[in-house]
Amino acid sequence: MTKLSAVVLIWAGAAYAADPHAGHAGHEAMSAGEATKKSLYDLGLTVVDHTGKKVKLDVFRGRPVLISMFYGTCTTACPLLVAKMKKLESKLSPKAKAATRVMLVSFDPARDTPEALKKLSTTFGIDARWRLAQTDEESVRNLAAALGIRYRFLEDGTLNHSSVLTLLDGAGTVAARIEGLDTPDEALIEKLEALSALKK
């Protein structure tokens, strides 16, 4: 396989479809109880929320969680993201809405201090099911990588980022994901309703 075809393969989402390695069979079996499910909560991240409280990212474990990233000084896409999430919530059944939690983590911990997030929480008009949060730079990078969010700070202090909204199940596994603010959200809503129905 040439490098170019490797690139194409990955684009096709088949990065590990083929196993050209004969020596691979010798791998020891996964030990019992090993977490083979991909859970965002295994990142082990800690955040500080807009009430100033230090919490683990899995603070809402057991519930469906909508998670995304934003930054407070962003004046266009980020308010749109919040608006999109609110609109999405407005389409939910009362039960699903009550079960769902929302976690928005800042790309920009230097400017999005807990105090700044507190102000934003008022601007955004969020209720108690929502958390605006910040964490350290290392964790921002890890979280963005795990959520498949691409971002880059520009020299003027603004940043470019992709808008990805992810739905996590109670164990922190990705249940649905939408990329881009114009993307239809019906499939995600359907998934969210199903997860909420499971929750007593």
Binding site: K3, L4, H21, A77, A146, I149, R152, L154
Partner: protein, 258 residues
């Protein structure tokens, strides 16, 4: 040529000063073929230290032995897909994978953890590209036909089943080896590439990542090797493990000349 010899010498000296495995690269100016913004066609980089060689299976074996949560049978799935270290015969057995060969089938999360265990970090894309723009005699050889041809010839070759040992190539002008010709390498900010469109307009930038209009904004339209690297990186996710993708570590250039 004398200048090049002098540079080679200073690179060698700073290597000795810092650590056996790292050499000073830069300060320098990185000219991205895909500037993040119209005003960012030149990025001034302070000096930093970079591993002379890619991390080997032997190095990585020591790491997973010391930090067993990164063994292939214990790693959390969020950090690496199931192909992690698949070329080894067991969690602590490189098997047929030579200890001097570069480690591969490692995710970005795992590469970061390895570098962090050494008090180092992954190089940024700008740093890696600055180091990799050099050949044996010039700091920026990207416009040199022979250099481009060498890279393209490598990119066109099929991936071998086993990789050669590290350190077989010649050091570039900074004293760094194997940046080309052995395998691709992770960078810290692999996810930043080609987000040149402004996401703040509320549209997903991915649609504009690969289009012709975007490419027309690039500063070096015939620097095909750089395009290939950017395309490759922009296709990656942090948990991917790939047979021709390894890494090396870097450190901030504290005390390095500017």
């Amino acid at each position: 040529m004398r200048v090049a010899a002098f540079l080679l010498l200073t690179a060698g000296l700073s290597a000795a000063a810092e650590d056996g495995g790292l050499v000073q690269v830069g300060p320098g100016v990185y000219r991205p073929i895909y500037p993040a913004a119209p005003g960012e066609t030149e990025v001034a980089l302070p000096a930093f230290f970079l591993d002379v060689l890619p991390v080997t299976n032997g190095d990585y074996l020591k790491f997973v032995t010391a930090q067993p949560e990164w063994r292939s049978d214990r790693i959390k799935r969020i950090f690496a897909e199931p192909g992690y270290l698949r070329h080894w015969s067991g969690p602590l057995k490189p098997g047929q994978a030579g200890l001097d060969e570069p480690v591969r089938f490692v995710s970005w999360f795992a590469a970061r953890a390895y570098c962090s265990s050494r008090g180092a970090r992954l190089p940024t894309e700008a740093e890696w590209e600055l180091a990799a723009a050099a050949d044996e005699t010039q700091r920026d050889a990207r416009r040199t036909d022979a250099f481009r041809q060498r890279l393209l010839a490598w990119y066109a070759q099929p991936n071998p089943q086993t990789l050669p040992a590290v350190g077989a190539g010649k050091p570039n002008v900074w004293g760094v080896e194997d940046l080309h010709g052995l395998l691709w390498e992770w960078v810290l900010d692999y996810g930043n590439t080609m987000i040149s469109s402004d996401s703040r307009d509320g549209k997903d930038p991915s649609g504009q990542r690969f289009c012709g209009a975007g490419a027309a904004n690039a500063s070096e339209k015939d620097d095909y090797p750089s395009f290939m690297r950017i395309a490759f990186r922009s296709s990656l996710e942090g948990s991917y493990t790939i047979g021709n993708l390894g890494f090396r570590c870097a450190r901030d250039g504290k005390g390095a000349g500017r």
